[in-house]
Symmetry: C2
Subunit: 125 residues, 2 copies
DNA sequence: CAGCATCCTGCGTGATACTG
DNA sequence: CAGTATCACGCAGGATGCTG
């Protein structure tokens, strides 16, 4: 075993999943990209729109997450290589296949924890 | 925007979701609990079994995650209040409704980012 | 415009010891 | 058995400045 630290997660896809989406914006980036390719700035703006509004996104952070997503094969980076710089990100096949999962998350989230606090009408039987 | 109720946190269920499952074991705890109530030690063992193996789970961490899940209404803590201590955790209704989401994650994960080993049917019970 | 370089901080997580 | 208390550390993530 080379790196028993992080690589052979454990046969638990959930752990790998958690690692993959570690980062505040990864899920939202993939989600936003489902409508088509987007440029760096567009992604950033989109992220800001949904955010609390007060928080700016550090380029360093966004950059890192985009790179991670690229390396994980979820998105594809396309550099037009000209000035002014123009870079587009788009979902790969893998990334597209992941969208439904996010949809499920969103769906569940919007009905169970979208409001501030969850009012569990749960009776605990 | 369908219905922007109050946009308490950020109007993005995904962010709330990420926050909710922040923690290494939360998802797996919920997943393990779907088979029925489990005691503290059982949860711990179950977590260890699937883990890298070298890492022990700090009680402090597990304790905190269980408490968080309880406060979030995903699981329910049942203290038998006797010695020797016996505490059981079980899924609430909300928690049970979350299982399919984890299933979707597991499903996707097992076919897209399962490294190469043990992608077996832990679910197939 | 799309990043990278650097510093700094909070907190999630691990390890160990103790208790009811 | 089921936790709590304490110490320590790594790293995600924010802020700022610079560049091709």
């Amino acid at each position: 075993m080379a790196k028993a630290k992080t690589a052979p997660i454990c046969g638990c896809p959930v752990a790998a999943f958690q690692k993959m989406i570690s980062g505040k914006y990864k899920l939202r980036i993939v989600w936003d990209l489902q409508d088509g390719p987007r440029r760096y700035g567009e992604i950033r703006s989109g992220l800001l729109r949904g955010s609390i509004g007060s928080a700016e996104i550090a380029p360093r952070v966004l950059s890192r997450e985009l790179k991670a997503l690229t390396e994980q094969g979820l998105i594809d980076r396309r550099d037009f290589g000209e000035v002014p710089p123009r870079v587009e990100y788009r979902l790969t096949r893998k990334g597209r296949s992941f969208v439904p999962v996010i949809a499920a998350i969103r769906d569940w989230g919007s009905r169970h924890l979208a409001p501030s606090n969850a009012v569990e009408m749960e009776a605990a039987e």
